[in-house]
Amino acid sequence: MSIVSTGAKGQTALLMGNDAIARGALEAGVRVVAGYPGTPSSEIIQTLADVASNHGLYVEWSANEKVGLEVAAAGSFAQLRSLAVMKQVGVNVASDFLLHLSEYGTRAGLVLVTCEDPGGLSSTNEGDSRHYAKMMEFPLIEPGNFQEAKDMAAWGFELSEKVHNVVMFRSVTRMSHASGNVVLGEISPGPSKARFQFDGDMMDQMGGPVVTFPGMVDPMHRRQLEKLEMARKIFETSPFNTYTGPNQPDLLVITSSAASLYAREAIDLLHVAERVGLLKLGTTWPLPPKLLAKHLKTSEKTLIIEEGMPFLEDNIKALWTELGPEAGTKQFFGRKDGPLPPTDELNPDLVARALAEILGLPAPTADQAYMGRAAELAKTHAPFRAMTFCPGCPHRASYWLLNSALKQDNRRGFVCGDIGCYTLGVIGCGFNTLKTSHAMGSGTGLASGFGKLNRFGFDQPVMAVCGDSTFFHAAMPALVNAIHNRADMTLVLVDNSGTAMTGFQPHPGSSSDASGGELPSVDIARICEAMGAEVAIADPFEMERAEKTILDLLDKEDGVRVLILRQACALSPGKKGKRLFEMAVDENACLAEECGCNRLCTRIFGCPGLIWDPEAKKTRIDEVICVGCGVCASICPTGAISKKEVAS
């Protein structure tokens, strides 16, 4: 079992940020945990799910982030400390409920953890959820190291109970996925009895019905602002806001989160600790005005270093203008006017260069010999990894079929997609089949819209793809919309039996819960049929039949068709490590670059399990990574690739 669960009080453990957050929640006595997977947040819920029975927690992977936050809020309303976890895009999904939640407030501590992805390493955007804290008026905290990740996660519940409102805890990739030493505290057993009180009047936050209601908006909003004011006061003296540096620095750096680590490293690298003051904020909304005023006055130059948009930068500038003449003349630096870049993830080098520029120092240069050696080693030790589907991925087969059918249909048909492994349908490994990709479920919604444009002369066939988890998460309302409005479209559900991209978490279609216990699975095909769609099911590995099914569906006019292309992810627990077929290439039959093939398998199909041998000018099977799905045998024009069933 993980040290997150077993580590004793006082013990120092090397913890990944997300594990530190999970430990902090356990130390706070969290009882209810819910959320939806998404990098870089997914480990928090999984870690807690794995120890749920030991600590008496309820942990679930919810259908989407809004439901996850609602489930966690129910825990809070029933007097249990609760945690909701999601990535930045998930906060948008949860935001409708979040506006109502923060207006009314919470009972037992409720922490909303958002793990964000500056630079979009595993995302399609750089969403910065901190703005929700300002927009919806609730407290925001951000840890600046791994110890704080644990400590502030635990403190978040206390804070939530003090101000009777949800607290947003923001992490970023380098905080969630990097590791550091953490001194552990004691795990609290927490209450075991849940009870929902509703006998009081509407403004009785701890005992009345939990409602936001017309006519109550003004008093509730006033009460919400009082809570925010309370948080502001607490933040003025919070130990998570720290200052290191001279009393009168040449430059004041204000920073938060992982950026504070880069700032420390850059100051060290440039040997400017005597000249630069570092104000690290752990409480970033509402800003503590007195603390900031005190430090802003010490220097004429202020550099704000933060991951994400210029949130602190804008709000600190606004605060400075409110301070009036007593604050003196200031020069602000940051992401807005430079020298830091306005977009993308920061790193110590970028921060060091910005510091050097402001301080008039030569730009720090990397050790050229070291860099040269690192580059050399990368060539030989780091294998080239193309952005592509895994060997045996059913999405490659599905896109192969969709592309083939749409090209044969020859009416410039296209596929609308969204977020999942299948987003790769946009690029070559998915044969460039996807022509739109936005939020989860948006492919289906866009297809619903495209499918109504025939009255404007639109005659292109419209398809959408969505994954099985995405279907439950956000595609269902879009599908209902398409069916009700009689859009002409085909939804292809690429059902790989799990939330594959984020690590195979279960979803409502799965038959297990987050901890591996048994749950009833919700049948996608029956849902679609009940909604009124015509439903077909095919296996993308049975290519001939599946392609015919797609062509037939494309031929239908008016109304919504749903095709479920069902084949489990190659990395799914049921398949991983098992090889269905031994694959082999008959060199004599392999046409290779000749007319009649032109390397269809390695140039177009592109499974990483197939290798082009440039010397022999033949295709080979990569025995190490081939999972033996057998699909390449179906696409080989000469039958040179053969499959032999592996005896089980």
Binding site: K407, Q408, D409, E594, G596, N598
Partner: protein, 375 residues
Amino acid sequence: MNEDKGNQGQAWIRNQVMAQGLCTGCAACVGLCPYQKFYRDQTAVIHECDRTWGRCSAYCPRGQVDLGGLRTILFEPRDITPELGAVKGLYMTRSTDPEIRDRAQHGGTVSTLVALTLKEGFIHKAVLAERKNNQVSESVAISDPDAVASFAGSKFSVAPTVAKFNEISQGEPSKIGVVATPCQALALARMRAYPQPGDEERMKNLALVIGLFCGWALSFRELRRLIKEKAGADRIQGMDIPPSQHKIMELHTEKGLIEIPMEEVQTCIRESCRYCYDLTCEFSDLSVGSARSPEGWAVDRGWNQVLVRTDKGQALLDLARSRGILEFKAVPPENLDRLKAASLGKKNTCMIQLEEVSGRKEDLIYTRREAILCQ
């Protein structure tokens, strides 16, 4: 002219043929590689092939075709006429079997000849088009002479005939006869005259090409649109252009007969047919069409005209005569000139269209002006 000159592989097919609306749907580029597929009545590129040489463009009837060179290789120079290509003789024939005549659009000559060649063992397999439903045709390979008659009758959309030939010619060696439209016959002629490396053996299987006179084919999508417009959701039981005045298309629905004026049907003609110069299927051993006498339609209703182009074609027709399965009738002397005029008319229309799309007078995308005119 070197046949390989300008062979750009699939890039030619994509850019010079498909993008220009010239693809005939002959399916010569289908079945030789996995990059093109045929669906309904169209050839589609599924994946891009980056080879700069390919059999697809080498055989494409809208590739850069050396029509003159082909004529020299495949026909006797003295037979070549500017209007009709090689002509050894013009005949009027019909099947002596009234049952076959009944099924056929005209005189049942094609069905009779195909059945004969299969029966005599001149060919082992015949590639024929089958009207799958009212809008789509498919290609079949049959070896039973008695089955031939069931494939008689007119087809409205193109069938992947050359793809079917590609498929079976790559199998066990056997003599294959193909009933082909002009574009399909031209593709087969390119294969026969200049088999590309690796194709020499399979091309030995091509034993006979029976050509069909062809004015145009209809586009599946357009035809389906027209039928839906005319018949709504009513079930279509049959469809025909009766060989009378050729002025109407008959649509037999569950609720009765709908007559569609030919001007409306002609809005459904495949774009590529506008760029075809060949009315009489010049690259065949013999070609067959309807007959039309100067006295009018009714006179020759139920008869075919046959243009014999090669010795093989002549031998086949003579055999049919000697077996008494084809009936012959004297050809009115004006008929050859009328046919020449009609053929020339199509060539001229084609050249005007190609000039328009290419913006050139001589170099007309897939061939040169003088070659169209058999000069």
